[in-house]
Symmetry: C2
């Protein structure tokens, strides 16, 4: 198998898992956050900077690379690792989520999804076999089954039909996957906000003995309480000896709570997206550095942070760069935010090791959000 | 004196000078190209990357920093070096050139220039005393006298009156300059394309025994032949023991020819500006990497270059990034172009050392432009 999850220990206080994921491009300590490099680059950040901040694995988006520059071109380049100069593990998603969230005029059939490119309107198709062909060409260490992420809210009958079809698509993915020695195919548990559908989906997938399992269809507009509830009745049905990946989640509170509920892998564009808008995550909570009140603030973004940005630049300088449309400012905020989340997961792993993740969560929540039950989402 | 030029040797073949410029933030080997960091950052590039490519000094623009974030703020931050995290030498221009080229509704009087900000229309004034106040606050190692860069073409009578006023402004700058122990004030030789005006201006300035001399008013639309002609009757009137700076010049041919004509310092936005448009300078000449023909070209921008970009990325990848609006692509092309010019000046210094700069020029011209007398400007 291309990827093997090694369980190390459970946090006696919280039940969170500490582990290692062995991949063809190296070992990942879990739980971990994966920076997102949508178009074969983590926006504004170099591979060397990702290593400097101890990123262990990144995610890249199949839908985007299929559209531009095309998976065949990436294959000719020697695969995604070589193309983008990143020699550590990569996970690619299936393209399913973006087909549903970004493309136009999409039509779902049993075969797959017909849609128009959001870039130029071109008529395109992705189905399970296409998703495998693209991801086999890209060559990531972990690849994802083609699924539908049902809208929220949706009729239970729709979610049921969609989840069943996602299961049939998964089996076609397994059939079509040609590089299972080098690339691990993860299945995706769907089922909306319905306990019975989630449990059925989880059990069906576990029966297929896949190298890992993702939980999809969350962080789509539901409350965080509802997301945690879905996790509470889904993760217990996933095997202890396989990795678990919660897709699209990256707010600090949800990373910690997800780990508590047994998740190993997370990804989200949040840290880099808000960074490009001048919003940063600090040990004292969110800080919108483009605000006027930081114009003459010569302290670092986060006085408790030892990242490249905080060691060398002031809030005043970063604000100046952002106001002046200098992309170096976005590099500095992106660097800091990614560092913040990677460092947070490092602390989460430490807390698991020391059987105190619930204590850590409470300390963090008070310090970052000022409350154990904040209203804000990040 | 804040800055001292040390003459090392003359190229026996070309007459070019090899030297060292001693400044409060370190020694610069000349002839040298100065990357431009207009708004207290060299666009897309970090200070560490500038050091990696062996940039020895950078230029920053007084006009831009006066407008945003304001020189008082930079002073509060501890000066420009600290504000932008660059501990090597900095040169600031006087703001004069940008007032004339960027601002609106400008009106020149003996006192100085009234103008409106190109950012928000605000009514502002810069005169010799203001230019000194701003540059004293920024704290660069080398600061420039406030001058008018006359338009080209212009009546000789206008150029004469302007050059005389620039001289009177220089004397007011010397009067107003408060930090001559830490900052060297360079005068600017103007005089348009007129031999007698240039000579008179040069002699007047030399009589003031300034720490260095710039040649302004060139690269403003005149032919290269005309620029070289102006240099030919201007530099001989400048003293051997002071640095000479040719403002706004950065095409490879003009850097070499400028060195041959006795210039020590150059600056230009060319390498970074064309980089952001997908145009690169290589040992085989210009290469527009965004062109379709590089879509599947997996070789480096320049196979003979050992810069970070060329060691790690292909033309195909860089083209993909630029087409996909990823700023990392602009970082890679900017890095390469700056490296190319810094490396070129390193080779120029070597050629001077070995008394073969004319041979080097001819070899370079044939390789880069395919001709000893190219039509193209860069």
């Amino acid at each position: 198998m291309a990827v093997r999850y090694e369980f190390i220990k459970e946090c006696k206080q919280s039940g969170a898992r500490l582990g290692r994921l062995h991949t063809p491009h190296g070992v990942i300590e879990t739980p971990i956050f994966m920076p997102v490099g949508t178009q074969a680059t983590v926006k504004t950040i170099s591979p060397e900077e990702l290593k400097e901040m101890e990123a262990q694995i990144i995610l890249s988006n199949t839908y985007h690379l299929f559209l531009r520059p095309g998976h065949e071109l990436v294959k000719e380049a020697g695969g995604l690792h070589k193309f983008m100069n990143w020699d550590r593990p990569i996970l690619t998603d299936s393209g399913g989520f973006q087909v549903f969230s970004l493309s136009n005029l999409r039509k779902i059939t049993e075969e797959g999804v017909n849609f128009r490119s959001h870039l130029n309107g071109e008529k395109l198709f992705i189905g399970p076999e296409t998703a495998m062909e693209i991801q086999n060409a890209l060559g990531a260490d972990i690849i994802m089954a083609f699924d539908e992420c049902p809208p929220y809210p949706a009729d239970k009958s729709y979610v049921k039909a969609s989840t069943d079809r996602t299961y049939r698509w998964l089996k076609r993915c397994m059939e079509a996957h040609t590089r299972s020695d080098e690339q691990a195919l993860f299945g995706i548990v769907q089922g909306g906000m319905h306990e019975d559908l989630r449990q059925e989906a989880a059990k069906q997938l576990v029966d297929l003995d896949l190298p890992g399992y993702a939980i999809g269809g969350l962080s789509v507009g539901e409350s965080k309480e509802m997301m945690y509830e879905v996790l509470s009745y889904t993760t217990p049905h996933l095997p202890q000896n396989k990795a678990r990946y919660l897709m699209g989640v990256g707010s600090p509170d949800a990373l910690i709570q997800g780990a508590i509920q047994g998740i190993d892998l997370f990804d989200c564009v949040l840290p880099t997206r808000i960074a490009r808008n001048g919003t940063t995550m600090t040990s004292q909570g969110r800080l919108v550095v483009r605000n006027a009140k930081y114009a003459r603030d010569f302290t670092p973004l986060d006085p408790n942070c030892d990242c490249y940005t905080c060691r060398n630049y002031s809030r005043a300088y970063i604000r100046h760069l952002i106001k002046a449309d200098e992309t170096f400012g976005l590099r500095l905020t992106s660097y800091h935010n990614l560092y913040f989340l990677l460092d947070l997961m490092d602390k989460v792993r430490d807390a698991i090791r020391n059987d105190r993740l619930l204590d850590f969560r409470d300390e963090f929540m008070i310090q970052y959000y000022g409350s154990l039950h904040p209203d804000t989402s990040f």
